[in-house]
Symmetry: C2
Subunit: 324 residues, 2 copies
Amino acid sequence: MIDPTLQKIAWHLTEGRNIVILPHINADGDALGASLALGLALRSMGKEADVLVEEEIPSNLDFLPGQELIKSDSQKTYDIAVNIDNGDITRLGGRERFFHSSRVRLSIDHHATNKVIADYSYVDTGSAATGEIIYDLILNYLKADMDKDIALCLYTAIVTDTGGFRYTNTTSETLRICADLLNYDIDFPYVIKKVFDMISYTKMKLMKQTMNSLLLFGNGKLAVSYLTLKDIKNMKVRSDDYEGLVNIGRNLEGVEVSLFLREELDNQYRGNLRSNDYVDVSKIAEKFGGGGHKRAAGFNITGKLDEIIDDLVSAILPEIRGVD
Amino acid sequence: MIDPTLQKIAWHLTEGRNIVILPHINADGDALGASLALGLALRSMGKEADVLVEEEIPSNLDFLPGQELIKSDSQKTYDIAVNIDNGDITRLGGRERFFHSSRVRLSIDHHATNKVIADYSYVDTGSAATGEIIYDLILNYLKADMDKDIALCLYTAIVTDTGGFRYTNTTSETLRICADLLNYDIDFPYVIKKVFDMISYTKMKLMKQTMNSLLLFGNGKLAVSYLTLKDIKNMKVRSDDYEGLVNIGRNLEGVEVSLFLREELDNQYRGNLRSNDYVDVSKIAEKFGGGGHKRAAGFNITGKLDEIIDDLVSAILPEIRGVD
C-alpha cells in the first residue's frame, strides 16, 4: 500500500542534494536512531546529509553508527529539511531556522499530538516508533539498500519507543520489521543493555532509598514508598532519575496498588499511583485532586508525610478490598 | 521445509486418543507454555490431553490458559506421551513412569544437551524456545487452528526463554513467530509483567542489601557488591532470589566489571563476575580456580571478606586498565 504523502517525501529526498535532518531536542533513541538511519540511507544514495542536534549525544546512544553525520551547527543552506519524530516545530530549539530556511520542508512523525506545518507532513500514529516509518520509507519508497548500520539505528529506534517490545504500542508489524532487522546481524543484546539496563549511580541510590522506605499494608496488597527532600540532599538528581520508582512497589509479588510520594518542595508531595489487576487508581487520584488512567495516576498533596500516608492508605484500602 | 521427525510426531499425535504431556520439573514459562499450547491444540482436535506436572503452578504463570488440562497425577494409561522442553528424562521426576508406560514415546526439545531416548525425538537447538517448535508443529504439521489462548501460551513460552527478546538466542524467526502471535489480540504487556517484572519481597530485600554493599573502584569502572550470611539471617531465600544481583553493579553507568560475592558457608564465597565491553572476566575467574565466558564468569573462594575483596580488586583493576 503506497501512501501518497510518503511518496512525495521520497520524491523530494531523491531530487534534493543537501539535506538536513532535525530530530527533536533531547533526542532519544527513536529520534536519533530514525534520523541517523535516514541520513545513512541518503548518503548511500549519493546525497549530502547532516543530522543537526541541539545537545551532546547521551552516553547510552554513543554506539549508534553514523555519528559522523551529526553536527551541532552548520553554515550551509539546505535544499531539504526533514523534521523527525517531533510533533511541535518549536521543539527544534535553536535549529528551527534550518527548517524554515530550507527550500522544501518535510516532516515525519508518529505522535498523535503532531501539529507541524510543512510542505509534506506524514504522521502515522499507528507506528510505535518513527523508526518504523523510516524503515518503510527506506525500503519501499527510497528503494535504498538496508545494511547493518542502518538496521542497528532502526532497531534502536524501535526498541526505545516500545520499551523493548513491552508497551502496548507494539504491534505485529513492529515485530515483523524487527524480525527483518535481525537478519543484518546486529548486536541487539548490546543495544538493549545500553538503552534500558544502564542506570546512573544517583538513580541506584534513589532506588535503594525508595526500597528502604517501602511499607506494606492490607496483607501486602498496598505498597507505599517515598523520597523526601532530606533523602536527596546533596545529590545531583536529573528528572528522569525519578522515573519508574513507583514500579518498585508495583512489581512486588502480591501487591495490587503501589503509591510513591516524592517531596518536591517543603511538605509538598507529588503522588504516583499504579495498580496491577483491578483497582482503578484514577478514582483514588481524583479524590486528591489529581487524575490519570485505571492503572496509572497521579496527584499533588501538601502536608506532613505521616499524615499524608495515613489519609492515602485509608482511601486506598477500601478500593483494594472492593468495599466503598 | 518439512522435517521427517516432526512429521512422524504429528502423525502419532493425530492417530492417538489419550495423550499425556510431560514438561520438566520446576516447569518454567517455556516448558509450561509449550505444554499447554500443545494440549489446547490437541483438545481442539478432539483428543484427550493431560498436562502432568510435578509441583504447583508458580504464581507468575497462573494466568496461562488451559489450566484445566493440568493434573498432578493420573490413573489413566496413555497412548502417547510427549516429553516437552526436557533434555534428561530423569527430570520428569515421579512422572517418568508415564513416559515409559505409554505406547508411543515422543520428545520435543531445544536443548543442545538433550540425551532423551524416545520413539521419536525432535531437538532443534536453533529454536530459542520449545514454544517455537510447538508453534511450527501446530500450524504446519498438525494443521490445527491457532487461537488466542494457544497464542498466549506460546508467546509466554518464547518471551520466557529469550528474556523478552533480549538474549542472543533470539532470532529473526523468533520475532516473526511472535509477530504472528500478536495478531491474536493477546495481552502481551501483562505476560511480560508477570514473567519478568514481579519479584518477591525477599528478592527486593536482597537487592537493597546488595546496593547497600556496593563499592566502586578504578574511577567507577569496577563495582563490588556482596551478601553475607549475616545479611540473609532469618530470611527465607529461594535460590532464584540470588539471580541477577551481579547485574546491579554491571548496569551502573561507567562500570566495566561487576563482582558480586555471596557467602554460602562461613567464610566461603561464590564469586560472580560480569563485564560490559572489553574485559575478559573468564581470565580473572581462572586465576581464582573458576571459569566461564568473556562477559560472565564465576569462582569459589575462601577467606575473610575484606581480604577477598582486596585480592580481587588487585587482580581486576589491571585488566580494566589494560595493563598486566
